[in-house]
């Protein structure tokens, strides 16, 4: 059982905004889905994942980068070749 408070916490952890109006629905749906996921409790063993391709690497060779125009083209805001972002700290 997750509570609305749990869902709020998850939204905070995911850094995904949530409206208080959505909380009830999300919580209800999460509980239904997580109940369904509980079937996994019956899974036995701890088999490690088998992955057959190993050591996939490339040689240390320099290849062309994008032009700065291409790099900045999709950025919403830029300044002196930098990409502008909201302040951190």
């Amino acid at each position: 059982m997750v509570t609305e408070k749990d869902v709020e916490h998850i939204a905070e952890l995911a850094d995904i905004g949530i409206n208080t109006g959505e909380l009830g629905t999300f919580t209800h749906q999460f509980n239904a889905i997580l109940d369904y996921f509980d079937v996994l409790d019956q899974v036995k063993g701890d088999t490690t994942v088998t992955r057959d391709l190993t050591n996939i690497m490339r040689e240390d060779v320099v290849e062309p980068s994008l032009s700065r125009d291409e790099v900045l083209k999709n950025a919403a805001a830029q300044e002196d070749g930098f990409i502008k972002a909201p302040r951190v700290m």
């Binding site: 369904y36 088999t47 950025a75 909201p86």
Partner: protein, 433 residues
């Protein structure tokens, strides 16, 4: 390469396209001059690529996905980008930020998803073939609902480079067309090793379909005809399977016990991966701007709330929860163990049979807005997700109608035996033509 242009001005009454290239360049090669539609989660250089999400509105990739590059080399005309469930998260193509796509067979119904736009473009005769992507059935479901052919290749057979990731360990780009032979041709072009995708295998596909199933042993898993499957759909598929028997295949009943865990394992895995994959959409490098007057976390949160639809936010939260400390072992780890069980079940079955067959979807196409509850929508993926968990090839080929709507026959095969899967589908298709 001689360059031409293909004029493309479709009557898109089904809202299949998000972007259309009225003058699409094309060249010589295997697909010379053929109009190919590309799902909007596959990067196309110079053509807006949004994943049907507001968060990527205006994003124009500076590079082509490997599969797209191969299409261009083969002379194909990339005529447009097709609608989809946002980031591939859905089974109906209703979760598009740009409106749902309608099913060409019945416009009151969904085309299936998430590659619904590609399916509708093909089924509506707007293009001959299209690229879709299949994470948990997203090629096969709309193929079944719209009455076309769609293949999810073996994991690693087609490069994912340039496919905007939703769930990396599950998804593949694959071909969709009106005939098995078109699907096969498209696979010839896009399959093979790509040095930019560390998970791709050096297994090119050079096969031409052969209509022959003589001597093949086909397993019929009981789980594919169980409780949730519409008896009418089951009936149509059973008839199709007897047709394969008439063509010389033998069938044996079999069981996939791990099916019990498959859907949960699938949804845990894909939401976990998605929660990480979709975190990069922050409005800094691309997409609608983050407000630089705000602090980083406030701006980030705001961009994501405004940019992602409800289903995407729901899955991001589910995945975040399933990976969070204290829950990782219960969800992520267990899902991976369950996934290994599914793989093991398939490996066991494929030591006894050559192919597995059953319905692609438990029902015919839903009516628009019919699936409003997320869990009930997830449950409709039950027959398609096992192939993604196991990484095996699976095709959906039209096999008749139920209540006037197309039904898909799903055929699954051993890893890298896409050829065998295609041959069986081709044999069936030719026989009922």
């Amino acid at each position: 390469m001689e360059a031409h242009e293909l004029s493309f001005e479709p009557d898109d009454r089904y809202n299949a396209f998000l972007a259309v290239c009225k003058k699409a360049p094309c060249g010589k090669g295997k697909l010379a001059g053929i109009a190919v539609a590309v799902k909007d989660n596959i990067s196309t250089k110079g053509i807006e690529t949004t994943c049907a999400s507001k968060i990527l509105k205006g994003y124009i990739p500076p590079y082509d996905a490997h599969a797209v590059e191969l299409l261009r080399h083969a002379g194909a005309a990339i005529v447009g980008k097709t609608n989809m469930d946002e980031f591939g998260m859905g089974t109906t193509t209703e979760n598009s930020a740009f409106g749902p796509t309608l099913n060409p067979c019945d416009t009151s119904r969904v085309p299936g998803g998430s590659s619904g736009g590609s399916a509708a473009a093909v089924a509506g005769n707007m293009v001959r073939m299209a690229l879709g992507t299949d994470t948990g059935g997203s090629i096969r479901c709309p193929a079944a609902f719209c009455g076309i052919v769609g293949l999810k290749p073996t994991y690693g057979r087609v490069s994912r480079y340039g496919l905007i990731a939703y769930a990396n360990s599950l998804e593949q780009i694959g071909p969709m067309g009106r005939t098995v032979s078109d699907v096969s041709t498209l696979l010839q072009v896009i399959a093979g090793k790509d040095r930019h995708d560390s998970t791709s295998y050096d297994r090119p596909y050079t096969h031409t379909p052969v209509a022959d199933v003589k001597g093949l042993k086909i397993g019929i898993p009981g789980e594919y005809f169980g409780g949730g499957v519409d008896p009418k759909v089951a009936g149509v598929v059973k008839t199709a399977i007897s047709r394969l028997e008439e063509l010389g295949a033998t069938t044996v009943p079999c069981s996939i016990p791990s099916m019990k865990f498959a859907l949960a394992a699938y949804y845990v895995t894909c939401t976990c991966e998605a929660s990480s994959n979709l975190a990069r959409f922050d409005g800094v490098r691309y997409g609608p701007a983050a407000d630089t007057k705000k602090s980083w976390h406030d701006a980030y949160k705001e961009v994501r709330k405004a940019g992602f639809g409800t289903e995407v936010r729901r899955r991001i939260m589910l995945g975040t929860f399933a990976l969070s400390s204290g829950y990782y072992g219960k969800y992520y780890t267990k899902a991976q163990v369950a996934r290994e069980n599914v793989k093991a079940d398939f490996a066991r079955l494929f030591s006894e049979v050559d192919l597995l067959a059953g319905p692609t979807m438990p029902t015919i196409a839903f009516r628009l807005k019919e699936k409003s509850d997320p869990l009930s929508m997830y449950l409709s993926d039950i027959l398609t997700v096992p192939a993604n968990l196991a990484g095996i090839p699976a095709i959906s080929v039209p096999c008749g109608k139920a209540d006037g709507m197309p039904v898909g026959l799903q055929i699954m095969g051993r890893p890298f035996e896409d050829e065998c899967v295609i041959d069986a589908a081709y044999a069936y298709e030719q026989a009922v033509k």
